[in-house]
């Protein structure tokens, strides 16, 4: 059947993808090549910019912080998304639609406006702090802290965790759990030995996407964060726009790019498992 559709030679379909590849070349490949080039040539040829990057304490602190915040955001997303996606996968059609709608509503307002909402909620005289005081707790400094950035980023990235998790959980045959229970397994044991391993591909897929997106986050840390929560993207923007130092900014960009794709490459064997399982269950 597949060979019937392959009537046109291989070149025909390839031609169809050419315009898209041309846009990619012009608007992505060339710009990224320019960045790499400048990181090695501006202001003078050599690896000076990279030596500077790894010799400057601030840079290493920010790099470590970028990983740390991304890690916490990913962890929070997994913990929050797991029960939610599970509920989505077992709910009736109406409740499921409602739950999906709640995931999608944040996309209905512009991303910048959503961050504005978090600025309003997290500020020192904001709703959260007023609520804490009303409940008899002390105020917590949220805005311009890493905690605030983590809260905001987790909410923005949560849908990217819920959706892949839900996709995998929907395919899990719940009769397996019944079978385990009927054979006398304790619910907790059933969960850890049957359900959790089957849902892991979704966790890996979602966590990878969230972590990668978090590494490159720019707007949320910039608006919710302060000097103590600067992430790598902000540093790159400062080097290029404020200091006009293309070489150093470029080197930072290459580091961020390598971190992103390095992590993706390291995680891809775990993600591939997802296709094996979903392919097998079909």
């Amino acid at each position: 059947m597949a060979s019937d559709t392959a009537r046109p030679p291989w070149r025909g379909p390839f031609l169809l993808t050419l315009p898209a590849l041309a846009v990619l070349l012009l608007a992505m490949a060339v710009p990224l090549a320019v960045i790499v080039l400048r990181s090695f040539t501006d202001p003078e040829p050599g690896i000076g910019n990279y030596v500077w990057f790894f010799d400057t304490k601030v840079n290493l602190t920010v790099l470590a912080r970028t990983f740390k915040i991304s890690f916490w955001v990913t962890l929070c997303c997994v913990v929050v998304a797991y029960p939610y996606a599970f509920a989505m996968s077992v709910a009736g059609p109406r409740l499921r639609l409602l739950l999906i709608l709640c995931v999608l509503v944040p996309f209905w307002v512009s991303g910048v406006v959503r961050t504005l909402a978090w600025v309003i909620l997290l500020q020192d005289s904001g709703v959260i702090n007023k609520g804490l005081v009303w409940l008899g707790f002390d105020k917590v400094k949220l805005i311009r802290t890493q905690l605030g950035v983590t809260i905001g980023m987790t909410q923005v990235l949560l849908p990217f965790m819920i959706m892949p998790l839900y996709a995998v959980m929907r395919g899990i045959d719940l009769r397996l759990l019944q079978a385990a229970r009927s054979l006398g397994a304790h619910p907790v044991k059933t969960f850890f030995q049957i359900y959790l391993p089957l849902s892991l591909p979704g966790v890996f897929a979602g966590a990878t996407i969230v972590f990668i997106l978090a590494l490159g986050f720019y707007i949320t840390p910039l608006l919710l964060g302060g000097p103590q929560s600067t992430m790598l993207s902000t540093l790159i923007q400062q080097q290029v726009l404020s200091l006009l130092n293309w070489g150093r900014g470029g080197a930072m960009g290459v580091v961020l790019l390598l971190a992103t794709f390095g992590f993706l490459a390291a995680a891809s064997p775990f993600m591939r498992q997802k296709y094996r399982i979903s392919g097998g269950s079909r």
Binding site: W10, P13, L32, V34, P106, W108, A117, I120, G216, V240
Partner: protein, 262 residues
């Protein structure tokens, strides 16, 4: 009883998560009616001045017009280019198709600021900063992955034997495409176009770098307003976008269920 407690806990947890997901979106609505120029919540007083400001201030309304035009052009360009690519990939079985698909999706993964700095560097050299071409090209790049994914998902369930049948009955390749393939993958194309529009309309990082005072998109205007002062006009814009999207999705749901019912 033993079964009900976990279910209750799960329900409560999900309710809290749902509130946490939705609440920040809804906070902007009351803010937009604030009486004073402040972003304190809950707002004091009531006025429509921020909506008035949005529609009468050329800074605000002009940027909305720019964003809408750019997003429309991007939706058309990305949908045509992305649909072609998705069809090409589907027909190239084997590894080549998968490889090209992976390459076409990379703009979603490349960190925004790195891409923005690179595009800014190239645009400075080619005088594309603050131009229509500049915006449309950069946003089309970012929108293509969404179209490729949406149309690709539709093509995966499309029965290619229909094309063979049409061809065997003497239809030309073009006629087959427009009468058989296109109507069947139209849902994928339409959702791809919608994603492309939204991607461009919402894009802020690259736009912040390639913007100019003469040609500014709405997210850039929102961002600069937010970093400058506490202007509730931002909340008015957010509420308007929220209402517009709700209307479109609501109509889509009604239309969709009615069609399914018929």
């Amino acid at each position: 009883m033993k079964l009900h407690l976990p279910r209750l806990l799960l329900g409560l947890t999900c309710l809290l998560i749902a509130i946490w997901l939705v609440a920040p979106t809804l906070v902007v609505v009351p803010m937009s009616f604030a009486g004073k120029k402040s972003l304190a919540f809950p707002p004091s007083g009531f006025s429509l001045q921020w909506y008035e400001n949005f529609f009468t201030n050329p800074q605000w309304f002009g940027s909305l017009v720019v964003s809408a035009k750019v997003a429309l052009m991007v939706a058309v360009a990305a949908t045509v280019i992305g649909t072609m690519a998705a069809i090409g990939i589907e027909r190239m079985q084997s590894r080549a198709g998968g490889l090209i698909r992976a390459v076409l999706i990379t703009p979603m993964i490349v960190p925004g600021v790195v891409l923005a700095v690179g595009i800014y560097a190239v645009y400075l050299d080619t005088q594309l900063v603050g131009t229509w071409t500049g915006y449309v090209l950069a946003h089309t790049l970012l929108a293509i992955p969404f179209v490729v994914i949406a149309v690709g998902a539709n093509l995966a369930v499309f029965d290619a034997r229909l094309e063979v049948a049409a061809a065997s009955l003497g239809a030309s390749r073009l006629a087959t495409f427009f009468t058989i393939t296109l109507p069947l993958i139209l849902p994928g194309i339409l959702s791809g176009a919608l994603f492309a529009f939204v991607t461009s309309f919402d894009e802020v990082i690259v736009s912040l770098f390639i913007t100019s005072p003469q040609l500014k998109t709405l997210p850039v205007q929102i961002f600069s307003s937010m970093t400058r002062d506490a202007d509730p006009t931002v909340a008015a814009v957010g509420s308007l976008i929220f209402m517009a999207t709700s209307l479109i999705i609501g109509l889509g749901l009604i239309f969709g269920t009615r069609r399914r019912g018929a």
